[in-house]
């Protein structure tokens, strides 16, 4: 199961993104708002760096003891009447869930937004059961009607404008109203309300599972996850194995970091903590509950220098500050997980073969690392990925040769000094008015869009030597 969205070369996706003016404007505007919101919240707390350190410490401890906490979680869920299925692969998870659906003979399934179900391709797998699957997050619903993929992990339909959405509603659901967001949302509310009421099975993701009580915490603004967990008698939660915390107290800290970092809110409208099956005489909530805990490549990171990638709480703040994401959009990453965290996580989960451009889709500016509420050194991990790709011998031949040269040059003062003397004359044929507008070889990519200042005749070191001599004379 590849995390790839489409079978196209990376550069093609980049080009498509760059040429999509609406998307770029939308992303740029969204980034501005998200960023301002996050900074305002951080400022209001005053000691944001302490919060980040606490977030990091909690995540580090939890992932270091992930076997213990998952064991505890599963015991607690079982105690509260739930089934727990540990799935090593996407296929295992999907086939277990399919089996539950088939046993229930379910006709309609409602889902709340979940990136892990995108990752394992659950909706495609469920299509085989014949049941209708309805995404209930407004953004996800829009994309589902259209057959499109999320381009952002928090606001999945960021790349769509309201005209496009009106058109989709009209074509797929006979909508006759305007493109006013309120009217569009009111229409969606009505349509989805009837889906909720008819659903046999609900499927949710998981923001934080609480080990001490077997509780699943869901974070939304719309309240759709609450609808999913209230109406159907059968409920399935799919969680990436690392989405766990020891107790309610850590859940609280991380939820606050999540909502502030994700959308600049102190909390979202709905934070709901569900535990197992409904109690005796309770009318709502499931009487048949299944928790599916998914590895799907996450364990590749355990015990390696990529382990901290599992600390991610999926707030998307790295995406919201990333200049590369701003210009190319989410789809260009060609992975379920876009942006800096996507570039780090995707190759960990899914290997380099399909994703070896991702670690290079970064100028290593470090904005992601600075924004991350749990202090994942994202840009350093991108360098680590590059090291792995080099170690595997998977970089282009010309680059290998060049880097060998760079190594020799930097390692030898003699070779280096020679270069300071030769640079000027070597580039002379391309130099005009001390500027190179159309450089040779590797400079071509540079001069395609910008000039290059030509190296002057005299290097600094030669100036300094002369100055010293002059001084001595």
């Amino acid at each position: 199961m590849s995390l790839k969205l489409e079978d196209i070369p990376f550069e093609e996706g980049v080009q498509k993104g760059i040429e999509n003016d609406f998307m770029r404007q939308a992303v740029s505007g969204a980034q501005g708002r998200f960023r301002a919101g996050r900074l305002k919240q951080a400022q209001e707390l005053g000691n944001w760096e302490d919060w980040r350190k606490l977030g990091e410490e909690i995540r580090t401890h939890t992932v270091n003891h992930i076997d213990f906490y998952l064991h505890q979680l599963s015991e607690q869920v079982e105690k509260r009447g739930g089934h727990v299925y540990f799935a090593e692969t996407a296929e295992e998870a999907n086939s277990y869930i399919k089996q539950v659906i088939q046993t229930k003979n379910a006709k309609k399934i409602v889902k709340s937004k979940s990136m892990v179900t995108e990752e394992i391709g659950l909706n495609d797998a469920l299509a085989e059961t014949g049941a209708e699957v309805v995404e209930s997050d407004l953004g996800e619903w829009i994309l589902q009607l259209e057959g499109d993929h999320p381009s952002h992990i928090v606001t999945p339909a960021l790349h769509k404008n309201k005209e496009q959405i009106r058109e989709t509603f009209a074509q797929k659901r006979g909508y006759t109203g305007s493109s006013e967001p309120e009217e569009l949302a009111a229409f969606a509310r009505k349509q989805l309300r009837s889906d909720f009421l008819q659903a046999d099975v609900g499927i949710t993701g998981c923001n934080f599972a609480i080990a001490e009580s077997g509780t699943i915490t869901l974070v939304t603004n719309e309240g759709n996850a609450d609808m999913v967990w209230t109406v159907p008698d059968t409920l399935i939660t799919v969680m990436g194995m690392e989405r766990i915390v020891p107790t309610w107290e850590e859940m609280e800290v991380l939820v606050g970091l999540l909502t502030r970092s994700a959308v600049g809110q102190k909390l979202t409208s709905y934070i709901t903590a569900y535990t197992g099956c409904r109690e005796e005489d309770e009318i709502e909530g499931p009487n048949d509950y299944h928790l599916v805990i998914v590895d799907n490549g996450r364990s590749n990171a355990l015990g390696t220098e990529f382990q901290a990638a599992l600390h991610c709480i999926r707030c998307g703040s790295c995406i919201n500050v990333c200049p590369v994401y701003r210009h190319i959009g989410g789809h260009a990453y060609n992975s379920v997980y876009p942006g800096p965290i996507g570039a780090v996580l995707t190759p960990v989960l899914d290997g380099y073969d399909d994703h070896k451009d991702l670690p290079y889709a970064s100028s290593l500016c470090g904005a992601c690392t600075e924004a991350c509420p749990v202090r994942i050194p994202l840009h350093e991990m991108l360098v680590l990925h590059r090291q792995k790709i080099v170690e595997n011998g998977d970089t282009p031949f010309a680059e290998k040769m060049m880097m060998k040269g760079v190594g020799m040059w930097g390692g030898s003062p003699f070779v280096y000094k020679m270069s300071t003397k030769l640079a000027h004359s070597a580039l002379k044929p391309w130099t005009k008015d001390e500027t190179i507008e159309n450089g040779p070889g590797p400079l071509k990519a540079w001069t395609a869009v910008r000039n290059l200042a030509a190296p002057p005749k005299q290097s600094f070191r030669s100036w300094f030597e002369n100055r010293k001599k002059d001084g001595e004379n």
Binding site: I58, A185, P246
Partner: protein, 234 residues
């Protein structure tokens, strides 16, 4: 109830971590920094009320303050402003303590009042779905985020605060704490003592909303479109 593939799965994780698997003895450390306890530390209830009231504005929620004696009038006004019609509420001893039945007497004859009754099963949910207004008491109230905390049970269905178009929370002043930290600590302590946590604990901060269409804030998506928090001095 069953747990599938656990040993295989967790043994592998432990192996990757380079140590034997652990099923006991892991102690949650004392975290080196704990900024969560510093927020609004030492503030009295009045200061918390101010913070709470200010935050209500940020979350598009109307804030009304009253005392027990005047709650009836205030509640009647809010219900009328939402158009009355039909109301659903949990079966909660506080209904009587705070004089809600008395208040409902003030409403028009044709206002439908339904108190959650588990003996009629799913019918409760259907009533909630049709109801114009849901009313609940807050069990713990978070000042920082203007959040009401609800512990649901057989007398307090989840749809009461979720499905009607309008939501009213009655907030006894004594339920006010600085932030979610205190609520989490209360729940954690109960769990440590062996108590079972409610099958559903909701932290609700205002009406439902979405920014999924061009980042425009739309208030009222799946849940309530409007919300009022009534803070009651005791």
């Amino acid at each position: 109830m069953a747990v599938y593939n656990r040993d295989e799965f967790l043994n592998k994780l432990a192996a990757k971590l380079g140590r034997p698997r652990r099923t006991e003895g892991v102690v949650r450390p004392v975290w080196r920094v704990n900024p969560q306890y510093e927020v609004f530390k030492g503030m009295d209830q009045e200061e918390l009320v101010d913070i709470f009231a200010n935050q209500c504005e940020a979350i598009h929620t109307d804030f009304v303050r009253t005392d027990v004696a005047h709650l009836k009038n205030v509640l009647v006004d809010v219900i009328k402003s939402y158009g009355g019609e039909s109301i659903i509420l949990p079966k909660d001893p506080r209904n009587e303590i705070y004089g809600l039945p008395d208040c409902f007497n003030e409403l028009q004859q044709d206002t439908n009042i339904h108190v959650w009754d588990y003996t009629i099963g799913k019918e409760n949910e259907k009533i909630a779905e049709r109801a114009n207004i849901g009313i609940t008491f807050s069990d713990i109230t978070l000042a920082e985020t203007a959040t009401v905390t609800l512990f649901h049970n057989k007398h307090h269905g989840r749809s009461i605060s979720l499905m009607p178009k309008n939501y009213i929370a009655i907030i006894p002043k004594s339920t006010l704490v600085p932030r979610m930290t205190q609520a989490a600590a209360i729940i954690h302590e109960k769990i440590e003592k062996g108590e079972l946590v409610a099958s559903c604990v909701s932290f609700i901060s205002g009406p439902s909303n979405s920014a999924d269409i061009e980042m425009n804030l739309i208030v009222g998506v799946h849940g309530p479109v409007k919300a009022t928090y009534i803070l009651v001095d005791e």
